[in-house]
């Protein structure tokens, strides 16, 4: 049930991905400046995991924060790849030493075994077919190469997970599905990647800032606010809802995040 919205028809996937490219092309500025994405111990950890790599690929690079940080750690060649040409242009303009390419994460244009590190941060919930993506990651990695991965994590409870995904899709029509850490582990292992480190963490989202970043229109904001006010108590607890002084307006909550290091 949780993954019933996954579409298998190629043309639907392609349309959806074109929509993602468009909405992110429009949101480039919000993404470039978002402190949530640019900073953080989790970003450092992800980059640490690529230590010693000689050729790295950052899939769905967005504004290039991860690719740029990897390049700064003396990885000699870093390819910043994204579905949106605007994002690739932004990333390669803002960070020196990156090579840019416009790619589909599920059909990577790289020969087998060409990279010893692949990174992907806060993007996989946009991929219609995460298993196809992981198969491609495994293919382009050399034996022993590292996959440093981070994404939002859904609660293990399927009902809570689908509630969260409903909110996410209202905010961002390109959102496909946030999976649970257990689901990711299964997919990684099924793709032939060996998980050797997992970190489950969370990050606090200021609701208004979070909505502003994707430029969410007023009607969908109201719907999101209403879903948040009527959220099941279990979600309120799990996500540590924090209200404004009047006790009514939700100011922020904590969303789950998971990091995996896996080897090919």
């Amino acid at each position: 049930m949780l993954f019933s919205s996954q579409v298998s028809v190629v043309t639907n996937d392609a349309d959806r991905k074109r929509d993602v490219a468009t909405s992110f092309g429009n949101a480039t500025d919000g993404y470039r400046d978002g402190a949530v994405l640019k900073e953080g111990a989790d970003l450092e950890r992800l980059v640490d995991w690529t230590e010693g790599a000689t050729r790295a690929l950052d899939v769905a690079t967005g504004a290039g924060h991860v690719a740029g940080a990897v390049a700064e750690r003396n990885v000699p060649r870093v390819v910043a790849a994204d579905l949106s040409p605007e994002m690739v242009t932004t990333a390669t303009a803002d960070y020196g030493g990156l090579e840019g390419a416009v790619v589909d994460a599920e059909r990577l244009p790289f020969p087998a075994g060409r990279f010893d590190a692949v990174t992907c941060r806060f993007a996989a919930h946009h991929f219609p077919d995460p298993e196809a993506f992981l198969a491609e990651v495994e293919r382009v990695l050399a034996t022993g190469g590292v996959f440093a991965f981070e994404d939002l994590a859904a609660p293990a409870d399927p009902e809570l997970a689908s509630y969260v995904n409903r909110i996410e899709r209202l905010r961002d029509p390109g959102h496909v599905e946030t999976a649970s850490p257990a689901q990711w582990r299964d997919w990684l292992e099924a793709a032939g990647l060996t998980v050797d480190a997992v970190r489950e963490t969370s990050r606090r989202l200021e609701v208004d800032t979070w909505l502003d970043r994707m430029d969410v229109p007023a009607d969908r904001r109201r719907e999101i606010r209403s879903l948040l006010s009527n959220a099941p108590a279990a979600l309120e607890d799990a996500f540590d809802f924090r209200y404004a002084d009047d006790g009514e307006r939700l100011e922020s909550y904590r969303t789950g995040v998971v990091l995996f290091r896996a080897r090919a």
């Binding site: 190629v10 390819v79 589909d104």
Partner: protein, 65 residues
């Protein structure tokens, strides 16, 4: 893009090698335009503003902005 990027690119569909055609270069010898053509299936992937667009044809915008 630098020509050396070609060494690590392939056709996203059949993963065969790509050949550079009609390359436009700037003063620093960077490739700013042209096509990458699959040596197997013949699919063409455009280089736009120095960035290779390797999206499969079903995902590419029809008219680049």
């Amino acid at each position: 893009m630098q020509e050396s990027l070609l060494e690590i690119l392939c056709c996203p569909l059949d993963k065969h090698e790509l050949e550079l055609e009609d390359a436009d270069r700037d003063d620093a010898d960077e490739i700013i335009g042209g096509d990458l053509v699959c040596t197997e299936c013949g699919e063409r992937y455009p280089i736009e503003d120095g960035i290779p667009n390797l999206l499969p044809p079903d995902m590419r915008e029809e008219t680049p902005a």
